[in-house]
Symmetry: C2
Subunit: 320 residues, 2 copies
């Protein structure tokens, strides 16, 4: 393949996930050859159906915890997009080893393989949850202290730290993306997913965890991927942190009301009460995005619009 | 043992190290029974010679990476002082697995054992290096972003994150201590140790890594331990972060000059040059200590005094 991007060769870990597969499509559209590394524990091969035959696409089923399985993907790569992780924050709070392994150990092995193969760049999907429960909104990238409320958040913070250390010790260059709630096609978890599943089981009652006032920013997957590609291109290094979120918030109750309306409007919403929806939850999230906006990015959709766009897609995927 | 502290039972991991053994002595002096857990990889049993026969003292040789070895120490404990770690930042930059294992995995196992045993409190020896290369001096606890420059720093940040997550998910309470350079008896590494060893090998020439202008704050071990005990007593939880450092700095060159003077004043100092002494080094370090001072703590010694006190102790220990 001889193209404008023929000197680039990307590896996308977690490339069969909801965000990963959108990123893979965008990279291939830019004529960057992509090797997906995924163990398919939460990612799905169907998410990659549209690109299976694309020139430059390669899929390697492998687990980040078994470096020898993933090693072949790294030879000749010029950039790693490391998205593989346990995607479900709540699972990690009942099984704390999950995020230790998939978040921290997985990242360590990716870094070691990148170093071994001489890869110069790494881009990492971190999360707004590294901010813990901030007292400043919108929360800027330089916020501290960072006190994770969940194993998942600790995994993201630990991974960020390892990446930073590898950059400063071994000359890698990294961009770290701290995501708001990213929603769009191919989701396997999250509030929209959960609410739809609950209504499928019982169309008359919809239980919403917490007091419904949890208020977060939601970003449509394509907006997220555009921001990642732009920051990766523009960041001067050695380590750039970028928040990625929309410029507004929506409450859990507002989302539940949208879901109920979409499904006929008859279900009764019942709140379980309490400020947090679940142990480990961060009830308010709103990210400052001046840094990524200064590079020329802006999201096409608000939080409410992202929910509105995602709902019919998810209903079609789930058959609800 | 029936005492005012008879309801407390402490575990000190890394209790055979320089800081750990001083902490053990202080806890026993306060009539708190102490079980030391140490694998003696860098700690030394001699550091505990003064307390081997003390009532309430127990030593368990065990490795944090083998939870079944350390488990017996946790039964009935009320507080964990988790100090075990690779103490040598430079080693971690050439063997990155070291800090992953001793820093992050070790902490994870300590947290899991604490949770299993129902221990309510954990106190952790973190480090100023979690601040990366800050642009604000003195650096306060809420400084961000946290971009570790070494594997050791990444290990400390990762461990802090895990501790915070366990506190918020499982009801533990933690104090995190971010240490300046702690110096005093029983040291096995660090600039004073290195310089003395170099002069022993060649009394005429003293090589100093970097341009000599690296400027850091040094705190005498006893001052450090008093601060830890005070914050542990007063912090309201769930997670309190405390910088611990003296209120001044001293340069690498000034330390070298003190060492040369102490050994007769004839050695010629040769600087290797460069802003950092070594890969992973943070050349300027100065911590804001208002938070711990507000609890009533202040160090007895300045950085220069801490060096002056430590030099003859270390010379006696090393026979130099």
């Amino acid at each position: 393949m001889r193209t404008g991007n023929s000197d680039r060769r990307a590896v996308v870990t977690g490339g069969a996930g909801a965000i990963g597969s959108a990123l893979v499509r965008a990279l291939l559209a830019a004529e960057v050859p992509v090797t997906v590394v995924d163990n398919l524990s939460s990612g799905r091969r169907e998410n990659l159906a549209a690109v299976e035959e694309a020139p430059g696409f390669r899929f390697l089923r492998g687990d980040l915890l078994r470096p020898e399985e993933i090693r072949p993907a790294f030879a000749g790569a010029t950039e790693i997009w490391h998205l593989a992780a346990n995607p479900d924050i709540r699972r990690g709070t009942v099984d704390p080893k999950l995020d230790l392994e998939q978040g921290i150990l997985g990242t360590f092995h990716v870094l070691e393989e990148a170093r071994r193969a001489g890869v110069a760049r790494i881009h990492f999907s971190s999360s707004s949850v590294v901010y813990g429960r901030p007292d400043r909104f919108p929360t800027p990238e330089e916020y501290g202290p960072l006190l994770p409320q969940s194993q998942y958040a600790a995994g993201k913070l630990g991974a960020e730290g390892l990446i930073s250390a590898f950059c400063h010790c071994y000359g890698l260059k990294a961009t770290l993306f701290r995501f708001a709630n990213i929603i769009g096609p191919g989701m396997s978890h999250g509030i929209l997913f959960d609410l739809l599943k609950k209504l499928e089981r019982d169309p008359r009652n919809l239980e919403v965890l917490g007091d419904g006032r949890q208020k977060k920013s939601y970003l449509f997957t394509d907006d997220c991927v555009r921001g990642m590609l732009l920051a990766a291109e523009k960041d001067p290094g050695p380590v750039g942190i970028y928040n990625l979120g929309s410029s507004d918030q929506i409450t859990a109750l507002e989302i539940a009301e949208k879901v109920v309306r979409a499904l006929g409007g008859t279900a009764r919403i019942a709140l379980t009460g309490g400020e947090r929806g679940w142990v480990g939850d961060v009830p308010v999230q709103f990210l400052a995005t001046e840094k990524i906006r200064a590079l020329g990015w802006s999201p096409r959709f608000t939080s409410a619009e992202a929910v509105d766009r995602t709902l019919p897609i998810l209903r079609a995927e789930l058959g609800i």
